[in-house]
């Protein structure tokens, strides 16, 4: 087991996760394809997971609560992807498009 505390600082993981999260936010706002919106959400969830894992390894190394949380987040992300894509399919059947700008069912 190598000691990862010394070489790569905790900040490096957090910076990568921040960049990935912001890419996800930008994609979530700007995507016009509904599938790409779901992919952006997955990117954001992965960024959060990287954070949890890094903290779990560096600060909470003997109890690793972060890894347990990551497993739960992965579970919820899988459920979210399944339901999201099912909603997308039924929307596509009603509207025959995946353009986010045409989904104005809740607009008033």
């Amino acid at each position: 087991m190598f000691n990862s505390q010394e070489l790569i600082p905790l900040n490096a993981y957090l910076l990568v996760a921040s960049i990935l999260f912001c890419i996800g936010v930008w994609g979530l706002i700007n995507s016009r394809n509904a599938v790409r919106v779901l992919m952006s959400i997955e990117l954001m969830l992965n960024a959060v997971n990287i954070n949890l894992m890094a903290f779990s390894s560096y600060i909470d190394g003997n109890i690793i609560r972060g890894q347990v949380f990551t497993v739960f987040v992965i579970t919820v992300a899988a459920a979210e992807a399944a339901v999201g894509l099912a909603i997308l399919l039924s929307l596509y059947r009603n509207r025959t498009t995946v353009d986010m700008e045409s989904f104005n069912l809740l607009k008033w």
Binding site: V68, V71, L89, V98
Partner: protein, 200 residues
Amino acid sequence: MTIATSTELICFLILSSVIVSGGLGVVLIDNIVYSAFLLGGVFMSVAGLYLLLNASFVAAAQVLVYVGAVNVLILFAIMLVNKREELKPIKGLKIRKFFSGCVCAGLLALLFRVDITTNWSTPGPQAIGEIATERIGEHLFTDYLLPFELASVLLLMAMIGAIVLARRDVLSVEVRESDSIREKVIKNSNNNVLLDQSID
């Protein structure tokens, strides 16, 4: 700097550059099939980061669930809704992208500041390394038992909900309980039993 540490550093740099460039590709590339495959690459690289953090179980779960399930699901969804369509141009789209880019850059700057300036209490206790898998199992069956069981209920609900949402509405002919009508339905089934609702 020994060989092990420099290898670790090189691995981290390669993985993080793949994550960042792959994430940019996911949101920027026009062809959505390429985006989906790049997303799979990002998931694999994140699993590599978990391996660097001594978390082999979560890395395996990441590969199995994300690459094996979620990415394949996304690819199936792309195939099911694959239609070349010309998106209607919206006025002010460039301005909208620019402003949202500014907001995201501001968020990034804020997060960077928090990441760098906060005095994280490292080094913490010695990492347990390879016995992390056993420790996760202990957690799941002792102090995280309730969320664990709730997760199973959540997955069941998600599965049933996805099936209910995604199926087409069933038989167009009324099917009663009696077998004679059922046989008739089966006999007529070479013309459309399934009501195709995708037209209207």
